[in-house]
Amino acid sequence: MADLTKKSLTEIVSLIKKKEIKSEEVTNLFIKNIKNDKKLNSFITNCNEHAVKKAKKFDKNPKLDTLLPGIPIAVKDLFCTEGVKTTAGSKMLDNFIPNYESTITKNLWNEGAFLLGKLNCDEYAMGSSNETSFFGNVMNPVAENTVPGGSSGGSASALAADLTPTTIGTDTGGSIRQPASFTGTVGLKPTYGLCSRWGIVAFASSLDQAGPMTKTVEDCALMLEAMAGFDEKDSTSIKKKKENYSKNLTYNIKGLKIGIPKEYRVDGMPKEIDKLWENGKKILKESGAEIIDISLPNTKYALPTYYIVAPAEASSNLARYDGVKYGFRSNKGTNLIEMYENTRSEGFGDEVKRRILIGTHVLSSGYYDAYYIKAQKVRQLIKNDFDESFKKVDAILTPSTPSAAFKIGEKKNDPISMYLNDIFTVPVNLAGIPAISIPAGTDNNNYPLGLQFIGKTLDEQKLLNIAFAVEKKINFKQNLNRWWEK
């Protein structure tokens, strides 16, 4: 089974359940691929030995009535993993080894999976190209010197390059969906509160949400089922009973109403994206769904709002990195204040510092009302827009990103153009609702492009069903030349 690593998670699970393959074989095949990660740079930490040990242990006494039996999974290095270095892509946590396990990863391990490694990401998840990581750029398997998107860039890259059968990321403004779109993979940002935030290095607490990144929609349903669930340790976790997303997955979307928001048609958007969007509508109609034009009038204010709310929360969330309890401490300075200033100046990278300063400013005395309160008001308006729309439609179809993957360094020195990458993904985080990106075509460079479906609160099943139906008809195939192995 030479190309087992190219198979979907669902297929691998089924092979293990049928005892046609052992967990150790699966694990070793992925480890073999990981050995060629050097150019991609998608891993920060390899857990090869740990994974093989876990696989052997599984094979000795296979427990098959779980969702992820014997499956090795590499995760974004933002999830705290007990006994395994957790860096958040930052020098600040370069030496941090948590003695606790995040709820989400624990949920995966409880379903039979085990840790394969920790994946590169933008520093503290702040970035859209994985260029802000202290551990270096990640490249997109699609083409050399191309970014994989961010902040879950390492996750997207490792998944697309078959270095892990599935992965998990976090999405604060598009950090799952945009890299999924750039690498031709599937990414879901669940409803805020569906997946516990406990044990995930926080970026912006009211926006952060963990979610699955997979090769297929079916895999995505399976992973969400494993991840989601109420956590009493997270005050923002929603108390509801577990759902069987994978079992209930269906192609039947007949009669569903899909909204097309006119505000998502932006200037300078490549023609291919427009074509892709039109194709999406066509497929939905063929599947028996009804297309309805809608308006989300405050869409253009989502990014400015996001760049107030997210940095404000981040400036406070990142105050704990002060060199006292864990992580990096500068040895410059003779008193406490100097120690703080040097530690934080040397430990954080430029983009993180930039956002902390923005956040500090928008919360500071005399500016709070003009920026922070104003943003929370506009956030309410953006949420109202979605609430209104969902009175008329079941889901909304948009492109995932305004462009395909770009070259490394292309936008590094222009923060605004970098930020604009998240223009279609950010509104969803502001409203706390779920959205999924699936690969749907390519641009003229043959780089993948994604379509995004947005749903209402806790309507993940419907979103998955729509994505499932569309995925089948699009039948997107990615042929990578595996340049990084050469």
Partner: protein
Amino acid sequence: MSIDKDKIKHVSKLARISVDEKKIEHLTKDLSSIFKFIEQLNELNTDKVEPLSSILNEPLRSRKDEINDGKIRDKILENSPKKNEEFFVVPKVIE
């Protein structure tokens, strides 16, 4: 509301991040353009809008008053860059 060097110095003091004099010019430029972008919001009249107070429509959950944590000093101190057997150790605080 423009961003100048003094503002950046003030804010970095609040955020406890020392900023390199050499980088401050560039940072001022970046932040100015970001704030110009952010200030698009001023086009919107929001006088009658209540700020969003929570993205979830849930009540705040609470826990019982039970002692079920603590007594893990070694774990707490384990990752500290400077500690002794009992305490975190930091450079002298100068008031």
